[in-house]
C-alpha cells in the first residue's frame, strides 16, 4: 500500500452526508491514482451521485476528509473544485445546444480583450483545436452548433471541456448511458486516453462491460458505505455484481 502512495492523487476518507433525516453517505472512502481509471459503482441510491457532488463542491459533505496529492483540501463551492483542477462531466452534459463547439468549450471562461469584453474567437479556436487534437477527437468545424452533433460527439465536447479546464481529476457521470455501440467505444477510448495523459479519472457507470474494459480499480458503494475497493485484475464481473446487490459481503481484503 505504501509503495503505491506516490501515485495517490485523490484520497477520500470517511465522507458523511445527511439530507435532513436521510443519511446519504455513512462512510465513503476510496483512493484515485494518477493515470488510472477508478470505477465508482453501486445500485440506485447507493450514494454515487452524492459522493461526486461532494468532490465537485456542488453539495459539500458534512464530515470526512478529501486529500489531493497528500494535502487536505476543503471544497465548499464548484469554483473550489475547479481551481483545484477537478472537473465534472455531468450526465446531462450541461452544454448549450444553440452555441458552437468552441463557445461551449470556453463557456464561462471566454478569452476577451478591451473594455467591451470583445471575444477573442481566433485565440479560443486555436486552443480548442490543440485540445481536440491531443484527445484525437474528430469534430466538424468549431462554430458548428452542438445541436447538430451526434450523441458521441456531444459527449466528446463535454469531455474536452473538462480536459481543457481540469488539470488533475476528471469525474464522469454515466458517460455512455445514452450512446450506441460505436460511440460508446469512442468515449471509452477517450476515458482510457485521459488516464494515459496522467489524469485521475472517476467513472460512474452501470455497465459492467465498460468497467472491465477501461477501469484499473473498482470501488463499490452500498447504502452510503464503501463495501469494496479492489484492483480490477483481482475481480470477476459476477463478484462485482454480487457486491453491488449485497448477495456477497466480503471480497478479497476489503470489508
Amino acid at each position: 500500500m505504501n509503495s503505491a502512495s506516490t501515485h495517490d492523487l485523490l484520497s477520500v476518507k470517511g465522507l458523511h452526508k445527511k439530507y435532513g433525516a436521510v443519511t446519504a453517505l455513512r462512510d465513503v472512502s476510496f483512493t484515485v491514482r494518477r493515470g488510472e481509471v477508478t470505477a465508482l459503482l453501486g445500485d440506485n441510491g447507493a450514494g454515487k451521485s452524492t459522493t461526486i457532488k461532494a468532490i465537485a463542491g456542488v453539495a459539500p459533505a458534512d464530515s470526512g476528509s478529501i486529500r489531493l496529492e497528500g494535502q487536505e483540501v476543503h471544497i465548499r463551492r464548484p469554483a473550489d473544485a475547479t481551481s483545484l483542477g477537478i472537473q465534472t462531466v455531468y450526465q446531462d452534459l450541461a452544454l448549450c445546444d444553440n452555441l458552437g463547439i468552441c463557445a461551449n468549450l470556453f463557456l464561462g471562461r471566454e478569452r476577451v480583450s478591451g473594455p467591451f469584453g470583445l471575444l477573442r474567437d481566433v485565440d479560443m479556436e486555436e486552443e480548442a483545436r490543440r485540445v481536440l487534437k491531443t484527445l484525437r477527437v474528430n469534430l466538424p468545424a468549431l462554430d458548428t452548433p452542438v445541436a447538430a452533433l451526434s450523441g458521441g460527439q456531444r459527449q466528446a465536447v463535454a469531455i474536452a471541456r473538462a480536459v481543457l479546464w481540469g488539470k488533475k481529476i476528471v469525474i464522469m457521470d454515466e458517460p455512455t448511458a445514452a450512446l450506441g455501440v460505436a460511440q460508446t467505444a469512442e468515449v471509452l477510448r477517450l476515458v482510457r486516453d485521459l488516464a494515459e495523459h496522467g489524469f485521475g479519472v472517476i467513472l460512474i457507470t452501470h455497465n459492467m462491460q465498460n468497467v472491465f474494459e477501461v477501469a484499473d480499480s473498482v470501488v463499490v458503494l452500498r447504502l452510503g458505505q464503501t463495501v469494496m475497493e479492489e484492483r480490477k485484475s483481482n475481480l470477476t464481473p459476477e463478484a462485482v455484481v454480487g457486491c453491488i446487490t449485497g448477495s456477497r459481503t466480503t471480497i478479497g481484503g476489503m470489508a
Binding site: C96, V112, F116, L118, A148
Partner: protein
C-alpha cells in the same frame, strides 16, 4: 449513351434531393424564411402597383421601419433569453412624454431631455428586470403589469395637456424630417463599409495564418455581396433625397446591438442563458445579472424608439400606446427568425422582420386596401413564422437536441 445520360440525371436528382432533404431536416433556418418572404412581398406589391419599388416610396418605407425596428431590437434581446416584454409600447410612450413635457413645459435644454426620456424607459426596464431575475416572476406577467403602470404614467403626464404635446425643438424636427444629403450618405456608408471590410479581412488573415478559417473566395464573396446590397440601397435612397436621419439612427442602434450580441462576452452569455440556463449557471455565468442587464438594455432601446416615434410624428401622444406598436415589434422579432423558446435568432432578424411588417403596411396603403385586409395578411405572416419556429423546435426535441 443512354445509360450515361440516365446516370448523370440520377446524380443531379439525388444532389437536388439531398439539398432539399437537408433543408427540410434542418433545425435552424436562421433568417432564410424572412428574406424569402420579403422578396415575395416586394414582388407581389410591385406587380400590383409599380410605384412600390420607386426611390420615393422606398425612402418612405425606410423611415417607416425605424420605430418598429428599434423596438424589435429591444424585444429581440429579451426573446433571446426565452422571455418576453409586453411593456415596450407604453414604455416607449413614457420616454416620449417625459421628453415632450421637459422640452415644451419646463423649457429644459433638449439634450438633457433626451437622456431623461431614455432614462425613464431604462428605469422601467431595470425594475421589471429586478422582479424577473431576483424574484423569478414570469416576464409575461411582470411586463403586463409594467405596461399598465407605464400607461398610467403617460396619462398622468399628458392628460392635463389634452393627451398630446406637439414638439417644437430643433432636434426632433431635424431627426423627424431631414435626410442626410446624397454626397454625405455615400461618404458615410462607404467609409463604414471600408472599416468593416478591413477588420474582417484582418481577422480572416489572422485565422488563416493559424491554419483555420474559410476559403478566401467565401470571404470575398460575402464582402462583395454586402457591397452590392449597400450600393443598391444607398443608391435608391440617394435617387430621392438621401438617407433619412431616422434610418441612420436606427442603423447605428442595429449595428451596436449586433456588435453587443455577436462579438462580446455579454452577447455570448445572452445566447447561453437563453439556450440552457442551467448549463450557463454551472459554467459560472451570473444568470440573474444577464437577465437584469438584458431588460435594462432593452429599456434603453425602447426609450430611443419612443423618442424617434415622437420625432417622426412631431408629437408625443398617448394614443400611440394604444396602437399596435408593441405587437408589431414582437411580430417583427419573431418573423425575423428569433425563437420565442430562447437562444436562437439575431438582431438582424429584427431588421428584416420590421421591413416585412412595414412593407405590408406600406404596400397595402399604396394599393388602397382596407385595414381589415392588412391585419389579416400581417397575422398570417406572423402565424407562419411562429409555426416554422415551433416545428423546428419539435424536430430538435425529437432528435434530442433541444
Amino acid at each position: 449513351m443512354n445509360a450515361v445520360n440516365q446516370m448523370t440525371t440520377t446524380q443531379n436528382e439525388s444532389k437536388l434531393k439531398g439539398w432539399i432533404e437537408k433543408l427540410f431536416n434542418s433545425t435552424d433556418l436562421g433568417m432564410m424564411p424572412v428574406i424569402a418572404a420579403l422578396i415575395a412581398i416586394w414582388i407581389i406589391f410591385e406587380i400590383l402597383n409599380p410605384h412600390f419599388l420607386t426611390p420615393r416610396n422606398l425612402s418612405n418605407l425606410s423611415a417607416q421601419i425605424v420605430v418598429t425596428g428599434t423596438l424589435a431590437l429591444a424585444e429581440t434581446l429579451v426573446i433571446l433569453l426565452g422571455m418576453i416584454d409586453l411593456s415596450i409600447g407604453w414604455s416607449s410612450v413614457v420616454a416620449a412624454s417625459v421628453f415632450s413635457v421637459g422640452t415644451v413645459f419646463f423649457n429644459l435644454p433638449v439634450w438633457p431631455c433626451v437622456f431623461l426620456g431614455i432614462g425613464a424607459s431604462v428605469v422601467i426596464g431595470f425594475l421589471q428586470g429586478i422582479l424577473i431575475s431576483r424574484v423569478g416572476v414570469p416576464s409575461f406577467v411582470v411586463s403586463l403589469g409594467g405596461a399598465m403602470i407605464a400607461e398610467g404614467l403617460v396619462l398622468a403626464m399628458l392628460t392635463q395637456h389634452g393627451g398630446s404635446v406637439p414638439l417644437s425643438d430643433n432636434l426632433s424636427t431635424a431627426v423627424g424630417t431631414l435626410n442626410v444629403p446624397p454626397l454625405w450618405s455615400w461618404v458615410i456608408s462607404l467609409t463604414l463599409f471600408a472599416v468593416f471590410a478591413v477588420f474582417s479581412l484582418r481577422r480572416h488573415a489572422d485565422r488563416r495564418r493559424r491554419g483555420a478559417g474559410e476559403a478566401h473566395t467565401i470571404v470575398f464573396a460575402k464582402l462583395a455581396s454586402m457591397l452590392v446590397v449597400l450600393v443598391i440601397g444607398v443608391g435608391l435612397l440617394c435617387a430621392y433625397q438621401g438617407m433619412p436621419v431616422l434610418l441612420v439612427i436606427f442603423l447605428a442602434a442595429l449595428f451596436a446591438s449586433a456588435f453587443l450580441t455577436k462579438s462580446t462576452r455579454f452577447g455570448r452569455y445572452l445566447y447561453a442563458v437563453g439556450g440552457n440556463a442551467e448549463a450557463a449557471r454551472r459554467a459560472g455565468i451570473n444568470v440573474r445579472f444577464v437577465q437584469l442587464a438584458a431588460f435594462t438594455l432593452a429599456g434603453a432601446l425602447v426609450g430611443l424608439g419612443g423618442l424617434l416615434d415622437a420625432a417622426r410624428l412631431g408629437v408625443a401622444s398617448a394614443t400611440v400606446g394604444d396602437s399596435d406598436i408593441m405587437l408589431n415589434a414582437v411580430a417583427a422579432a419573431v418573423i425575423g427568425g428569433t425563437s420565442l423558446f430562447g437562444g436562437r435568432g439575431s438582431v438582424y432578424g429584427a431588421f428584416f422582420g420590421a421591413l416585412v411588417i412595414a412593407s405590408v403596411g406600406n404596400g397595402m396603403d399604396l394599393i388602397g386596401a382596407p385595414s381589415s385586409v392588412r391585419f389579416g395578411v400581417e397575422g398570417v405572416i406572423l402565424l407562419a413564422a411562429i409555426t416554422i419556429d415551433t416545428l423546428l423546435r419539435q424536430r430538435r426535441l425529437r432528435s434530442g437536441r433541444a
